[in-house]
Symmetry: C2
Subunit: 342 residues, 2 copies
């Protein structure tokens, strides 16, 4: 059987974008054999311009060196816009990996709207546009019969969305609780082993786990954004970031952690949603959990989500790489799930 070809346009060429590009090339044969699918990456764009090609753009060119800069690709055109690109190629899927802006969602929000209006499916690793306008994007996709997928935005390779949206269909989800940020879980794990906050943070920076400016992570906003997206997508419970009670871990004292440990407990930065008849609540903050809690043993950069349900009891997912390769794999999975499985 002849494989089906899906055109891809990649916007954003940071760690995740570059890793995705290489992964598509690495997996090309498997995708044809196992999924009957040929992914054809026809354009790569960043904020300054892009490349547009008749043929799939090769990740490794000229002696096998990886391109870390979008403008190093042959055929780079300064000022090339997404609008132009989308009108030049048969619609497929837009893969969006630009940096998250949790306030405005831009410029990604504009890219996503443009793509949906042009008949392209959207797969994103970006929390920004989902925090800014999840309902609007969802409706825009649904009206056009298109898919809006965002597994990579909510915990990279951790399959929390899949489980919440599909595996728990027909249940009443009464609570969602998650360790959704690898950086802060790493810091807390090291603090639990005796390190001071600043030392643990610096260690995370040295290992490339924490970003140079870790504010969004350590102050809890990254977790809050993910909780907001999970609540909207799975529970149809729509929040703004301002409506979530958010506390971070930057002021956390080592004494609090050692006290918890001496009681057999552990402090974790949790995002929590409780569904109640008299109003639901969402919060993010460092919380003590005991050894019987299913997230107690989630250590280092690992993540985890617990769903409490009426008919299936507690369902827990943990693991899934937090790095760019894990996020790229989640983008790829979302693309494969656009079509019904053969």
């Amino acid at each position: 059987m002849k494989p089906e070809t899906i055109n891809l346009v990649l916007v954003g060429f940071g760690h995740v974008g570059r890793t995705f590009h290489r992964l598509v090339e690495e997996k090309a044969d498997v995708l044809v054999q196992r999924h009957g699918l040929r992914l054809s990456l026809r354009a790569i764009l960043n904020s300054r311009g892009g490349v547009l090609s008749d043929q799939p753009i090769q990740a490794r060119i000229r002696g096998g060196e990886d391109k870390t800069n979008c403008s190093a690709f042959p055929g780079w055109r300064s000022g090339l816009t997404l609008d132009t690109v989308l009108r030049s190629i048969a619609p497929g899927a837009l893969v969006e990996c630009t940096p998250s802006d949790l306030r405005t969602g831009e410029p990604a929000l504009g890219y996503l709207r443009l793509a949906l209006d042009a008949g392209w499916h959207v797969v994103t690793a970006n929390k920004g546009p989902l925090v800014a306008d999840f309902r609007g994007l969802k409706a825009r996709a649904a009206e056009r019969g298109l898919e809006l997928k965002f597994s990579a935005a909510v915990g990279a390779a951790l399959p929390g969305l899949d489980v919440g949206l599909r595996s728990l269909a027909g249940t009443e989800i009464t609570a969602i609780e998650g360790i959704l940020n690898g950086t802060t879980n790493y810091i807390l794990t090291r603090m639990n082993e005796g390190a001071a906050y600043e030392d643990a943070l610096n260690e995370a920076r040295r290992k490339g786990i924490a970003e140079p400016d870790p504010t969004l992570d350590v102050e809890g906003w990254d977790t809050a954004a993910k909780i907001l997206i999970l609540a909207g997508a799975i529970l149809d419970y729509h929040l703004t970031l301002g409506e979530i009670d958010v506390r971070g871990i930057s002021g956390l004292s080592p004494e609090l952690i050692s006290k918890a440990r001496s009681q057999g407990k552990s402090v974790k930065l949790l995002g929590r949603i409780h569904r109640r008849v008299k109003g639901s609540t969402a919060e993010v903050g460092p919380m003590e959990i005991d050894a019987a809690h299913p997230l107690f043993h989630v250590r280092g950069t690992n993540k985890g989500i617990v769903f409490a349900t009426d008919t299936m009891g507690e369902v827990v997912v943990t693991g899934g790489k937090s790095d760019p390769r894990g996020a790229a794999a989640a983008l790829l999975k979302d693309i494969l799930m656009i079509r019904p499985r053969k």
Copy 2:
């Protein structure tokens, strides 16, 4: 929007079948509101006969008493066959919950083939027919554009199949390892707390966890059947039960368990598949795992599955009720996932 109606036929009216019937009634309003779906259970059959109705069959009739016997339903007809029923109603989904026969797969195998040939989707909680002829059933469903779903057969509410089939699409799964049997995990948990095997088994019997004849569970065959189904469905790696190296827990000495515990380890009955270039392997047996293993903390009747992948690292699912309500909820979920989500 007018809800879509799906006709259901239920075969098998044991714990799971009865619980499923009540659950469909309990969830009727939610299914219409949230999924635009009206499930209409039009027939219930067991090995002796059944009922066939123009209207959805009520779970609670005459003063609210639950029917525990199929023949107590009004309109019961001795000798009514599935063939007759399927030809009398517009095709929907067959829900199959008869007891598992791991050798022949019958009588369920015949029911499933009959239903697929008559244009009905199949949703089953039964390992038997899948162990006997997974590939044949899968091909038969695919040729007719029908769905064959079996979440409830592989760990009830534990979403291992969903994660393996969808969330890990595009990854190379190098190993699957699972605690897939609640009864034996309960016994081992109690033995780890100091109980002798016979005492732990009797306790499990008293609590209704172990069946009167627990052979299939304690000798590892239930786990082996689930591993076989996971391997076939997720990895396209097809086995017979005879090709799996199966050891149970019935001969396990308390000394072995206390020795493991003294080393900080735990003995679990694991099913394991390893994918290797030079031949894959599948085995079931009691194995020592240490505290860093993601299934170390899975206690009591809980279950869990670990997938090792190339791009997403380790992805772990645990929890999900092991009881008839969990299995019934998994059947319901499978039915909801037959159609694309709205």
